[in-house]
Symmetry: D2
Subunit: 344 residues, 4 copies
């Protein structure tokens, strides 16, 4: 089969022929129909510092997928050949305290497909049956392929009810923009987006942001206060991982507000005004990792069934699998929001 | 009347004669019976950087009190002369969004007695009637005088249920130690205290800590893990404001755990591993300010009625008002936990 | 001034001349601009069993209002003559445990305007200053006059997050219909309404219900299951107080679901299948009374600023004060949703 | 092997020789060491109306157990021969919405051991490996055998934080009494128990109740109010399923209070004052079923490690397996709290 492989340390990915995997006893072989390119995939492509530490080539990349079941491991029940599925890419251990208490998303022994083991940028992938998510017919492939990033956004937005509240989102990459669309759909009264890329700010407005601001804007603070009764937003969704955004976000957050933080800084953060921006304001910070298994998937599916128009605005490119280089380039240059590779 | 006054910038406090205040229309004159010395009072005494910015002499200090009602402003109802009372020292505006939604503890226009206006280190104090808390007879004066710091501890402990959970408390000053006693009373299964002062560590054990550790201990991390099934504590109560304690606390906190943070660092904090110690672990941080008005007071009163033995272990000194210098000295040297000045 | 008075036991209300009230020390005189007629007012007009026990004539009725401040009691601050205001009609005691813990809506010594004391169906009304709600210019009088019932609906819908969930609403009177519009605005994925009156079912569809059902429909249960993945709705908003609706609602509610119950049955309810419809399903029931002071008011104001189109669909009649008889008649006959009387 | 079998419709159970079961592919064979007798087992013994509808003889009864792993199905990993284990007796489907969202305790396709399939009153039992709970050495067999009923009590008590609150418990059978001990350990400030059996009331006082009342007591309401500041308990734990207890409990519950209801009435309940006892008071009702998998088990284990003294007071009888008739008789007569049968 064809697969997109990180063959060895260094930049780039190679499209090459490899063996179709054999599903283990509790696994399922999925014929991939479409796969989204994640920012993480771009990091792996670029071979940044994080990738150099985490990735052990050779590995097939990719973790956002839709496909159909092609073969079953011998212990697998409740799944049938031909079924259309997406899949949770975090393979949790199932045994630890977190897995046994409905918190598999913070399992300490998690492995991630396309990172720690072979992923979905391939014609076939084998995956633990319990991680499959059957996809309703009403959700087309290109949308179903991105349950994973929509799930990240959903997990973040749903961590604190937004209905009737002012929401500030720092970082309008694909996940930040899905968060805009989800917050809008979930009744946020006001959505402010902080994002340096003009194309992404424009996308934010298309899916529901009332106000978008370039972080280099000098009057950023007063613009945000003007849009939030002078008190700051009630909810911060931190999707960038940028130290400046984290600090600006906490600083502007309203007393008693809630910051849901998903973005990952690449190194420790300095100069956090813990006293004034956190303690005295009595805020809550909720850290978000992955997707709740499988609460988030039910929520994402509901969103996909109701809001395809918004989602389609954010899937800016659908490319044949072979054109993957173009997809990575667009994302690298900030010229695409979500790129989906189509295998069939 | 006699009052303990910060007369001018610089170290020390002066016990001097001043006029008895006249209660305003909605105020009550309280004859002070006893008053606790807070760490904040020690800062004001010492005239540290914070005090230099916040305090505008002359001001009567002190904000932890019990007394009896001596006179009523003309609009005051529901209070009677002679009633024994403590009082919430945060004078909230009553008009802002926070005050109007049960969050007066994070009022943006709050004034604090003994800091922003005259306080309780005096024979009489005038205070807004709505801030009074009637004290049941079963609570003696020296205990009733410290509703305020017990309330800080209570607010922090009650922010996240501790019953059956492992709790780590960083910082065993008076509030940290009350937090130990409250967490014990609230069913924490395991209480670990990190504190450099040996006397305070010993006090922590007396009121319920199973394990106390000096932060200079090399094997601190492994000791904590040994006491928490190798996973770290489920709850962190950060009472120190020390940057190292904040970072150690977040680092050791279990995946999915909750950090309730009350301690106030004196300057911004550097080198927080936002990705590994916060985001990936999916933790929650709840920032705590003051006392909930007046949920926390009901909870503190219940605690005072049931756990006087533990509280008495932490009120290490009861001194006549005139001996205030000795009280400040003991606290300054870390030789006392809670010092109560007795006016009558 | 003119006022609509329940003069004595028996049917009807009398429009008559009475003295303009004198505001007490902490009260404000409001010149009423518009007032909504509530179902409760219809009960008082009709002199039903409840009214006979609760109402002590003579009393001026009415509790949904907007007006402008005409005079101030001598202790009143923070309010100015001419200010446009609505008002919370529950006059809470301010002293009880509930009032002191942000739960004034369940104060045990509450008095309600237009029920226990004079109300707003008059040219002027005097009310405790703390109960006033300043109204932004962008909200017109006829909408501002119904903060109270919109608040009831808001309190009910906000008691449990509806975003992305299936919601069933039993009872589509004015409050039930506002609940439809609010649930829609708050991101409910699916709204099912059970209501016998065809006009009200049609109104429900106009403001966001996907499915409306007459409770006499034989296949009611299977229709609801068909609309909810065979599992029943995740949330029940019980707005009718009808015993059959309560039981049908609990019976259909999904395992683990939440029922928010506002409707008031006129007598005790028989034949509740406590084991099967409540315990085994692991549901939660949240009982709703009044409006949270003043969280609900902030939420309702935000809704009024954003969703006037939906609200206008439900204010079916705006009548001059003098035409009040017509308003009561329309409501009595189920031919109106919300009727607003206009005084100016 | 020996097993206690409901052989056919009618009263009684038969101790007889049957084949040792063969573990299925994902199952484990457990050699039973001890097993608790539940009220449900007494119902099955007595062949009451519920049993007649639910039980399909022949079936081996019993669902509270501790044992050691004797053999493994061929797909089982993570479990080893000889391991000491208890087991969750609800065999959830693993596929439904509830199972996939951490709510397996309300799975719609659940089967219960000893009820719907063979149970643990036997020398061996085969059970799905995922349901096993490894038991720490520090918990002795007779305590480990009752994870199930302690878990019911734990699930109920933990549904709403009790620390510092007044708690009323209606029904002091074994589960109600474990709830007393757990509430005490979790910091309840005041525990009131309503129970007709004097022996059980005495047991309640032994494990932490401050006040116990016979429901036939004329002044019951005023006694409860006297113990709860005249406002009623803040939390109700309804463990009896008795219609009178449900109604008295709701009636006495404080405004804004929370009722956690586990008790199962044998038929629908009449005459619930939905308006006055539920809606107007703004209470919350949380229905409890089974044990959360496996949050409740972690909590129960922690409780067993810390509070064996209290638990031992409630395990009133430990009998050899062969003496089972005596155990059922004691329970039938209300002369025992918890009876444990010992197989080894």
């Amino acid at each position: 089969m064809k697969a997109l492989v990180k063959e060895q340390p260094g930049k780039g990915l190679t499209l090459k022929e490899v063996d179709i995997p054999e599903p283990g006893e509790e696994e399922v072989l999925v014929r991939i129909r479409a796969a989204g390119i994640c920012g993480t995939d771009v990091h792996i492509y670029d071979w940044d510092t994080w990738s150099q530490q985490r990735i052990h080539p050779p590995v097939i990349t990719g973790h956002e997928l839709v496909g159909e079941v092609a073969a079953l491991g011998k212990s697998v029940r409740h799944i049938s050949i031909g079924q259309r599925v997406s899949a949770e890419g975090h393979i949790a251990c199932g045994q630890c305290e977190f897995c046994r208490t409905g918190q598999a998303h913070i399992c300490r022994d998690v492995e991630i497909i396309g990172v720690d083991r072979n992923g979905c940028f391939a014609e076939y992938m084998s995956i633990y049956a319990g991680n499959l998510w059957p996809v309703p017919d009403a959700i087309p492939d290109h949308i179903a392929s991105i349950f994973d990033p929509i799930g990240n956004a959903m997990h973040t937005v749903m961590a604190e009810p937004v209905a009737g509240k002012s929401v500030m989102i720092t970082g309008a990459g694909a996940i930040g923009l899905f968060a805009v669309a989800i917050a809008k759909s979930a009744g946020a009264s006001n959505i402010i987006v902080i994002e340096p890329n003009a194309f992404k700010r424009e996308s934010a407005r298309k899916v529901g942001a009332q106000c978008t601001i370039d972080p280099s804007e000098k009057n950023l603070n007063s613009i945000v206060l003007d849009h939030t009764d002078g008190l700051g937003p009630q909810i911060l969704l931190e999707m960038s991982g940028h130290p400046g955004a984290i600090k600006t976000g906490l600083h502007l957050l309203r007393n008693g507000g809630c910051a849901c933080v998903l973005g990952i800084p690449s190194k420790p953060v300095d100069n956090i005004d813990w006293a004034k921006d956190i303690v005295f304001k009595g805020i809550t910070i909720k850290a978000i990792n992955g997707r709740r298994m499988y609460d988030t998937w039910f929520q994402s599916q509901d969103f996909m069934l109701r809001e395809q128009k918004a989602i389609n605005k954010l899937i800016t490119h659908r490319l044949p699998f072979g054109n993957f280089e173009h997809g990575f380039e667009l994302l690298h240059n900030g010229e695409a929001i979500k790129v989906v590779l189509e295998m069939v």
